[in-house]
């Protein structure tokens, strides 16, 4: 099978990995090299740079005083991370991964540096999950980079066959896809097969299918930051389900098309326009008004 055909959908990707006896991550690296724009070393180096920016964003969000432009959020990631020591209901690892995901989002909302994965609004989930699990399980940077390629392959299948934009498909297309990417990454890093990695991605999306994008005041803060926390937990749970032998009744490719169809059916009000859902609750509107006044007060508009 040709490398480019391998990335047509999940089934063809699994077929390729089986025929070549390789991981999804390796297939992704080969495809990137075959595009002819970068040598293998450069491809690996580029991903290493992404990992570094991700790790730094987690660190800043957990350790430094982060304040968002709107003053709506900040400091909550650190709070949850510290609380994780005290026997949390969701478990220490889940709690810390969720806190790390929030940390990146807080940095993002304060106009700090992050890596879109697949978008900026969902940029916390993949680093939150990978970096926390990496610390927990002593994964090396090389392993984490492999995980990023696995995640990239899953995201690419969604981008090609559905959408990764909140304006097109709602929050399911952003935090949903990010969780699916993270779940597949940790499954493959834990020795799961390509089929299992894609099953984990499928279950992750099934769990949040139809999730709307309804940002309060149009900002990437509420509910985005906490949905990144949920996305991290969703990824960990789905990875565990798959690794214990649970499968997805609906195959990955069918979940991708269902997600696209649902995304198309979501009304425009619930696709990033801040015209519905939480954005138009009385409190949501009041916050929007406050933010507007604050902005005009600061004389910038």
């Amino acid at each position: 099978m040709q490398l480019m055909e391998a990335f047509e959908n999940g089934a063809s990707l699994c077929q390729y990995c089986m025929a070549e006896n390789c991981t999804i991550a390796e297939a992704m690296i080969r495809r990137e090299v075959s595009r002819g724009e970068m040598m293998r070393d450069t491809v690996m180096e580029e991903m290493r740079k992404n990992l570094e920016v991700m790790r730094e964003a987690v660190r800043i969000g957990l350790e430094e005083h982060v304040e968002t432009v709107s003053h709506l959020s900040g400091g909550e990631a650190r709070r949850l991370f510290l609380y994780a020591k005290y026997d949390p209901f969701s478990g220490g690892n889940t709690c810390r991964a969720a806190a790390s995901a929030m940390a990146v989002c807080e940095v993002n909302s304060s106009m700090g540096r992050i890596v879109a994965a697949p978008t900026a609004g969902a940029s916390g989930i993949l680093p939150g999950v990978l970096i926390e699990c990496g610390m927990e399980r002593n994964w090396t940077d090389d392993q984490l980079i492999q995980g990023l390629f696995t995640a990239g392959a899953v995201g690419l299948l969604f981008a090609q066959n559905a959408t990764i934009s909140g304006a097109d498909g709602g929050c399911q297309a952003e935090t949903g896809v990010a969780s699916a990417m993270a779940a597949a990454a940790i499954v493959e890093l834990s020795g799961g097969t390509p089929e299992q990695a894609l099953d984990a991605a499928a279950i992750t999306i099934k769990n949040i299918m139809g999730l709307v994008c309804d940002p309060v005041a149009g900002l990437v803060e509420c509910p985005c930051i906490k949905r990144n926390a949920l996305g991290a937990a969703n990824a960990l749970l789905c990875a565990d389900m798959v690794l214990c032998g649970i499968t997805s009744l609906i195959p990955f490719d069918e979940v991708v098309s269902a997600m696209l169809q649902v995304g198309r059916d979501i009304r425009k009000e619930y696709r990033e326009t801040a015209k519905g859902g939480l954005a138009t609750t009385p409190t949501g509107k009041a916050v929007a008004e406050k933010v507007r006044r604050f902005q005009s007060y600061s004389g910038e508009y």
């Binding site: 047509e8 992704m28 495809r31 990137e32 595009r35 491809v43 991903m47 740079k49 992404n50 920016v53 432009v69 709107s70 940095v107 993002n108 909302s109 304060s110 106009m111 700090g112 540096r113 992050i114 890596v115 879109a116 994965a117 697949p118 978008t119 900026a120 609004g121 940029s123 993949l126 990023l148 390629f149 995640a151 990239g152 392959a153 995201g155 690419l156 981008a159 090609q160 959408t163 990764i164 934009s165 304006a167 097109d168 990417m181 940002p215 005041a217 149009g218 900002l219 990437v220 803060e221 696709r271 990033e272 326009t273 801040a274 015209k275 933010v291 507007r292 902005q295 910038e300 508009y301």
Partner: protein
């Protein structure tokens, strides 16, 4: 089917908070800056769709100014774009329009350079920091900014396209994608040429010299 890179998914490395509202906005404005190719004195941005609805909260305004100032999407100076524009003597103004647009994240950028030359660029942010420039000076174009791009306006007459592509071949510049547009038979026409390596200022001068049908040329 679009040919995504893994770095379209894990990436770009960027200044938050939104890939379409910040990174994409920086890139559109950056291309507009490159197209005018001279120092800028005034810019008027008109935002449409979701850019108009939620652009302020996302810092799209700062991102657009950042692009005009020549910043890349991961430049840490973007939050301070207003102050930096003022320091550099670039006047900026914004209109948040409720007029309908073809795409939710659309911006029209009207630029005036220090020689009073005007230019109008329309672009959309199509998700994940990817963009499409759809209009230059009211002429429909299609350019993604992923490759070095040469835009040539010329008289619609036989041979112009042949000469340009022949010159590029002799300069060893490989054409990745090429599109031609025109207002009507024999009237103004545009070429939009995406190349693997940049077309330098010297190369542009050569093309101009050899081809009399060319009326204007921009490179990104």
């Amino acid at each position: 089917m679009e040919d995504f890179s893994v770095f379209d998914i894990i990436g770009p490395r960027m200044t938050g908070p939104s890939s379409s509202h910040t990174a994409g906005a920086v890139r559109i404005a950056y291309i507009a800056r490159k197209l005018i190719g001279a120092e800028i004195s005034r810019v008027h941005f008109t935002l449409y769709g979701s850019f108009a609805e939620t652009g302020r909260g996302h810092g799209t305004d700062k991102a657009l100014i950042g692009g005009i100032l020549g910043f890349s999407p991961d430049d840490e100076r973007i939050p301070h774009a207003y102050e930096l524009a003022m320091d550099q003597g670039v006047q900026v103004a914004f209109t948040y329009s409720d007029a309908p647009a073809d795409h939710p994240n659309t911006v029209k950028i009207e630029i005036v350079d220090i020689n009073d030359r005007k230019m109008e660029v329309v672009g959309r942010s199509v998700g994940g920091g990817n963009i499409l420039i759809t209009e230059i000076n009211e002429q429909a174009v299609e350019l993604s900014g992923d490759y070095p791009t040469l835009i040539i306006s010329h008289r619609d007459e036989p041979g112009v396209i042949a000469i340009v592509s022949q010159v590029l071949a002799q300069l060893k510049v490989n054409i990745a994608f090429m599109r031609v547009f025109r207002h009507g038979r024999g009237r103004d026409a545009y070429m939009c040429i995406e190349t693997d390596t940049p077309v330098t200022k010297e190369m542009q001068a050569i093309i101009r010299q050899l081809c009399s049908g060319i009326t204007d040329m921009f490179a990104v």
